[in-house]
Subunit: 124 residues, 2 copies
Amino acid sequence: MTKRDTQQRRAIRAAIDDANRPLSPREVLESARQGSPGLGIATVYRTLKSWVEAGGLTQVDLPGEPPRYEATGKQHHHHFHCRSCDRVYELQGCPEGLRSLTPPGFSLESHEVVLYGRCAECAS
Amino acid sequence: MTKRDTQQRRAIRAAIDDANRPLSPREVLESARQGSPGLGIATVYRTLKSWVEAGGLTQVDLPGEPPRYEATGKQHHHHFHCRSCDRVYELQGCPEGLRSLTPPGFSLESHEVVLYGRCAECAS
DNA sequence: TCACTGTTGAGACGGTATTATCATTTTGGT
DNA sequence: ACCAAAATGATAATACCGTCTCAACAGTGA
């Protein structure tokens, strides 16, 4: 009725832990297949979904992109989306002055910032 | 072979011009039907697409949302997404310090900022 | 090791957003 | 007003994601 420690889940967890950046389901699949060759996409979706519900994973939505997943509990941060390789990277820090952009009467609850460009690997 | 001035296109243009905020295809349909009752969704998609290609419209992508469309040529700005009514509003201004978030070796080309909360109408 | 039951993989299925098709209507120029 | 071509609307067809189904498999406690 609950969680078993399977080869597939170990592989998926390892993929996410090793990446150090948010991964899409497809990226998870490709990476985790190294530790669990026959791994299927349904298992990836199932596992990601259950971990998100359990709170151990956080879904990251970017404009026009399939969701990525990263470990929960990191401190507030934003993301960089490489236009060349399509990978998403974590950034540190947060811009100032967001509150002042909010129109009068509007209540600000949260925000997202996404930077676009080329990652170090693709820029060279 | 090209553009005719039809009742449908006038209605779609009016919907966008009057809104003063980015509209989704569905919002365009509903609004434009006031000026063109039988308007079909296919015409909306066709028209939006051709205007985007022609450069008169800009597609606005927000995380996890269907695209919205706004007139091209406005000055650089960002958007506010109301969690209650799901409408998207234009903001003025732009936060500082984005460049400093960029990791070494990465080249920054553009950015997006989305604020979330309640619009004035929904907050009251 | 055995048995029970959660888990998996492959493919079917469903939901949604967008595009293609095509018969009919509308527009713009003459 | 007439006509050729563009535009439209209804609906079918795609495309994309993610979930469900189910037979076979594998993890766990006894």
